[in-house]
């Protein structure tokens, strides 16, 4: 009995070495599933901040929103929104280019996206400097800086990811096949998510 089980074990060992292969979904690859789960967790994080924002807005219930001494630069933020949304088009252009094997388009798209993202962040910081109130000024100041600052941190992370993708693109790392440009696809998905979140932040905080 013992010798039989040893023989079976040896036969099994001949066919398979190391740990069993990881199960993989046929619907989605590992990297894309990873960024999808990350984005789901990020949506919950932003959801908590938005819940705080609406809670404060309803509980404080001032006659005007934002409360009297506060004024937000809607036009500048609107222009900043246009800049960030246009960066989604450039990252999409970069990906479409590499899908067609156009490396120049990939590099151009990634550099343009990085520049537009950096411009957005620069204008955002400039806005903070000239706003005239800080995070310590009433609950509105706190939640305004928390929401926009949280988003700004995400833009910064997105810029870091785009920097890696751009450096790799200039080193000739990516190719037209789907599995050969995941290093651009995943940061691209993240960047689109950051754009969508900003549109929601802009509409709720600056406009409504």
């Amino acid at each position: 009995m013992e010798s039989a089980s040893v023989a079976v074990g040896h036969a099994h060992a001949d066919h398979h070495h190391g740990p069993p292969e990881a199960n993989q979904s046929s619907r989605i690859d590992r990297q894309t599933l990873g960024i999808l789960l990350f984005i789901v967790s990020e949506v919950m994080l932003f959801g908590a901040f938005f819940a705080s924002y609406f809670f404060l807005r309803v509980v404080v219930d001032p006659p005007n929103w934002p409360p009297e001494p506060f004024e937000l630069p809607k036009a500048v933020a609107g222009m900043n929104t246009a800049i960030l949304v246009s960066s989604s088009f450039t990252v999409h252009y970069a990906l479409e280019s590499i899908r067609r094997g156009n490396r120049t388009g990939l590099k151009l798209g990634l550099v343009a996206t990085w520049l537009l993202g950096a411009t957005f962040l620069f204008i955002q910081i400039n806005e903070y400097v000239h706003l005239g109130f800080s995070a310590r000024d009433l609950s509105f100041g706190s939640i305004f800086y928390c929401l926009t600052g949280l988003h700004g941190a995400h833009v910064f992370v997105g810029l870091c990811l785009l920097s890696f993708a751009t450096i790799r693109a200039f080193r000739g790392h990516f190719g037209p096949k789907a599995e050969d440009h995941l290093g651009v696809e995943v940061p691209g998905i993240y960047w689109h998510f950051v754009d969508i979140m900003w549109i929601i932040v802009y509409v709720t905080v600056y406009i409504l």
Binding site: H192, V203, L208
Partner: protein, 59 residues
Amino acid sequence: MKFNEAAVFKWVVIVGIAGALIVAVTLLTRPLVGSLLLLACVIAGCAYAYRWWRAPRRH
């Protein structure tokens, strides 16, 4: 459901158009009207996202 960059880009365009519509309506009328439109857009977006998620994969 097909989750890739192109699909998410489509969502950027959808949310962008909805956002522009809400901004325009709010600035032309009152924030309350914009808030109601936002609520309607969120409900419609959730329904559309659910259908998109449940759609069979196309080869």
